[in-house]
Symmetry: C2
Subunit: 386 residues, 2 copies
């Protein structure tokens, strides 16, 4: 097991009718900016619940944060924060709204010239404006971690940021919100959280028994509830498991003491930046070809995964490992998610070269665990995903 | 899944040679009271490492905190804290030293008359004197939770306390400390942490898929490393798994969203208070008879446990469940731990009545999940453990 530090101070408030607890979680006297996305919270009742809980607070609103939170729009929110002397941010939404809020938490106290520098110059945030979240879309785990991804249309860039100052003070998770999520988004959440676990698990063994067991447990749970929640998003217990597993998939716990990969995310972000493909679907596109290309490096864990998550008991280690890849791709298909780039865009030719070019231009020339994915590997992995 | 809140702000610093990180974790300018137990830290090098790391701090020491931290001794430490105007407590030891330090953290800021009231009147601690820990004995999980148990010889009492103000600010876990722990203590740590998981798992199903998987994962990991670490406590990777599993067994995570039992602990504490039997061994004495007595209430989880943790695939649900109890008792035996009260004391007769009397006198007349263990059940469970 590798050395590690673990510190996750986010308070989770989980369960039925938990949104009303907002009242006591936001510091009294705070001037609150309520941030949200395209307005679905006004249809599903969450907006009204939040407004009721915050009746005694001074409240300003900023809606319209899009999927893949856009820098230009966030800069408008930042102006509002400064103009209105906001002291507390409340994200009500999914990963995009929460990530956008994290950017604002950091940018509000940033003393440099251009907040985009936080992303391009990898500036870690040790203190941000305090914020909380009400999660409406289980997927990214952003509600219990300290990192964010922001997109800039102007430059077709999608970059990450983070730091210990960016944990939400609290996150409210009411599984009842799941019933109004469109099937496509539920499928995305299942694929996204599943891949988050894979990125922290599918590397090489380091003897971290419990981290492996928890990662496998999350994947087993997601596999178990996926067909149930896709069929009936109003099934409360399935929704609760969906929500808690998505959070646990990326709150830092399973990453401690083990190597992690994240090459799928690095390459996948480029597919979203280039073609606007849903984040989760870019991961589904690349996972199979990434694991096939790096088979030798990953086969021990692939075989363990096949056995423990998919109950593959027969065959040699190599056979089990291959079965593990097949099962993963089949799982994405079972969610109604296509796994070839050409199924998403007719303009796929040349994508591999462009992804490679972009990563090289940012110095990302050795990604994945032990830096095994070099520019020539990126080329082959993306090509194999056409 | 039940509603829950989860908030665990303790920072874990885990790994080889991590004790030196103390230097930057304690607030600069703090006046530190270093608390420890019987002096084993002076033999195994931990004391020197701690002193080196704290060379620049004003430091007072208080040693001699015994197993089952004794109120009278802790009151001496409390006097020292007040006399010396201590501002930070550092526990270097196992669960007893850490629990004693938690009591002191609370008592140092307690404004009532008699600190023992914190325990007898169930006063929750919302703010204590800040403290950190250096763990030298994996077992209780106290290094990452906010509760403690304190013993008072004068009244033969062993009582619990806790509250959100009693999380350690940080805990340093260097698995290298395990190599000098006597086999008896390692066996105790394995049994203690295993039973912690059972108390939060062996109740009835509520559809909390991941919580069950994590609980099972901890038990599988403990079962896997137990023979290795007992044979060779200098095996670093086994020690690391031992240490992290003990912490994860009782840091609150697996208890969230599920019912919990804790009747074994409530009854077990009385056996320690009466006969001085090691805490972990009191749990091993009572587990089998408790599960047999409450078989109908627990058999669904017992069968799931038998299948997933012990790979029992054959038989009816009842047969699997019974096998689960047998496997548990056999596991304690494999650690060299006896599971009958009469193997620990010749004076066992009348114990059941005395335990019952003590619990009734404190109003503990319906313990366990759903309050299923009534005084007459306590009588039968303890008697069956003779």
């Amino acid at each position: 097991m590798n050395n590690f530090e673990f510190h996750n101070p986010t308070k989770i408030i989980f369960g039925k009718d938990s949104i009303q607890k907002l009242t006591t979680e936001i510091p009294s006297g705070a001037k609150v900016l309520l941030l949200y996305g395209g307005g679905s919270i006004k249809k599903n009742g969450v907006y009204d619940q939040v407004k009721n809980a915050l009746a005694d607070f001074e409240l300003i609103e900023f809606g319209g944060i899009p999927a893949n939170p856009e820098y230009a729009i966030l800069m408008d929110a930042l102006e509002l924060i400064k103009k209105e002397n906001i002291t507390f941010l409340l994200a009500v939404g999914g990963g995009s709204v929460i990530d956008g809020t994290k950017f604002l938490s950091s940018a509000a106290l940033f003393t440099g010239k251009e907040p985009w520098d936080i992303l391009t110059q990898h500036i870690r945030t040790y203190k941000g404006m305090p914020f909380g979240t009400v999660l409406t879309l289980p997927a990214t785990g952003s509600e219990m971690n300290s990192s964010a991804v922001v997109t800039r249309a102007e430059t077709k860039e999608k970059l990450g940021m983070g730091g210990p100052g960016l944990f939400p003070q609290f996150s409210i998770l009411d599984p009842q919100v799941v019933h109004s999520i469109p099937p496509r988004q539920i499928a995305n959440g299942l694929a996204d959280s599943f891949t988050h676990v894979l990125e922290q698990y599918m590397t090489y063994p380091v003897g971290a028994l419990l981290q492996d067991r928890i990662a496998e447990g999350i994947m087993q749970s997601i596999v178990e509830i996926a067909p149930i929640i896709l069929k009936d998003p109003s099934n409360y217990n399935a929704a609760a498991n969906f929500m808690w597993n998505c959070t646990m998939a990326l709150n830092g716990l399973i990453q401690k003491g083990v190597p992690s990969d994240w090459a799928i995310h690095v390459m996948g972000h480029e597919l979203t930046a280039l073609y606007g493909i849903d984040h989760a679907r870019t991961l589904a596109i690349l996972t199979g070809s990434h694991y096939s290309h790096n088979f030798e490096a990953k086969k021990d864990k692939l075989a363990q995964y096949a056995t423990r998550v998919w109950n593959v008991q027969e065959g040699s280690l190599d056979e089990k490992a291959k079965k593990g890849i097949e099962k993963t791709v089949a799982f994405f298909h079972s969610l109604g998610i296509k796994t070839k780039l050409s199924e998403y865009t007719p303009d796929y030719k040349g994508t591999a070269e462009e992804v490679k070019r972009r990563l090289v231009s940012r110095g990302q020339t050795a990604i994945g665990e032990r830096g095994i994915v070099k520019p020539e590997d990126v080329l082959k992995i993306v090509e194999a995903a056409y």
